[in-house]
Amino acid sequence: MPDRQQIYARTLELIEPFNKKGAAITEATRFAQDLEWDSLTVLDFVANVEDEFDVIITMNMQAEIETVGQLVDALQRLTAARG
């Protein structure tokens, strides 16, 4: 099971191809406001994250995730739950 730091590092790599503005990413970066991702970009990104970590992030969960840090937290929970 990957630790939080590993999940964060891998998440940053997955954000990169969608970071069209070249914004500096921190845990506080917000996907909608700071990265200006539209719903289609989010769907594409989430599909990549799901495949990378072999988890499902339902749209219901996505609605609760605003920042990079919250995503990393969710991924930590999901990968832990999977064992």
Partner: protein
Amino acid sequence: MGDLFSKFDPLIEQRETLLQGGVTDPFNLVMERVESPTVAICNGKRTILLGTYNYMGMTFDPDVIAAGKQALEDFGSGTTGSRVLNGTYVGHKAVEQALKDFYAMDHAMVFSTGYQANLGVISTMAGKDDYIILDIDSHASIYDGCALGNAQIVPFRHNDVEALDKRLKRLPPEAGKLVVLEGVYSMLGDVAPLKEMVAVSKAAGAMVLVDEAHSMGFIGERGRGVAEAQGVIDEVDFIIGTFSKSVGTVGGFCVSNHPKFEILRLVCRPYVFTASLPPSVVATAATSIGKLMDSADKRTHLWENSKRLHAGLRQLGFTLGTDEPQSAIIAVIMPDLETGAAMWEALLREGLYVNLARPPATPAGMTLLRCSLCALHSEDQVGEILGMFAAAGRATGCIS
């Protein structure tokens, strides 16, 4: 005090900018007279209709019109009631029978619109601990059905069998699962690989719902849709359809062989808490569906139209949504909204109506000129249409 309308300011601004350029508002067209399924008068000008979803041209069929007139005379202008109270007439039962005959299925439930059919069936069937797995490019009515219910929503990449399979395998095996697919996706007119998708869904123990709104009457040997054409209709649990395309009126439905299907009539809120369709509408629908069963010749002609328009537009140099014609929808991809609106207006001036489609209705932020063919478009009309596209395309610089 905050104005609740402030959130619409960006859209208001975008519209104003577009209209300041002098372009006709593409979302405000009025048809002054309608002469036939393929011709109307717009702005005083005779206009060929190439964006109506009236695939089988049933709107002016003499038998359909006669049935509607008779029902209007015999049963009045409306039911003024819910299907479960005073709103079920013999005509509503007759159109449900016509659907059962058309699809060879045990149950049929008619809603007041196609939108409500998806809204109702999806929101009611999938509960809080169930999963709905749906294609990212699903119609708004499917997403709204998800939003109305409490299920867990899992989208997957458009028409990607592997993406669907992977997600199904990651879900708890014991959880209830509903896979929601469309036969034809209406924006690009592409068809789903239902054979493969139904197979992986069934292997994962999921139920499958297919929206065949844009294929009914046209695709499949008996016009039952893409699931029929790909030989998997018997494994599909629910088919959603509409009366507002090939059938030529308004209304929606779900057909199924599920033994407990009828209970939906009592628990499905978008079915219960709205007035039923007017008697004239269900009479026209039943007559039209009956005639669609024996429309093999029209289906053949519609395919010919679709192939010819696709090849012709491609030859003119337009970029199309699919490499080969897969349905009666041909989507012409425009570089941006401004060019799309200019081209749309140029076509209207030539005497041709198509749909201008733009985000968020379209995938990947595309602006599309969406053409939907009719079985009653003549060979001459398809030739005329291609001539209009050539002239408008050159006038707007879309093609050289």
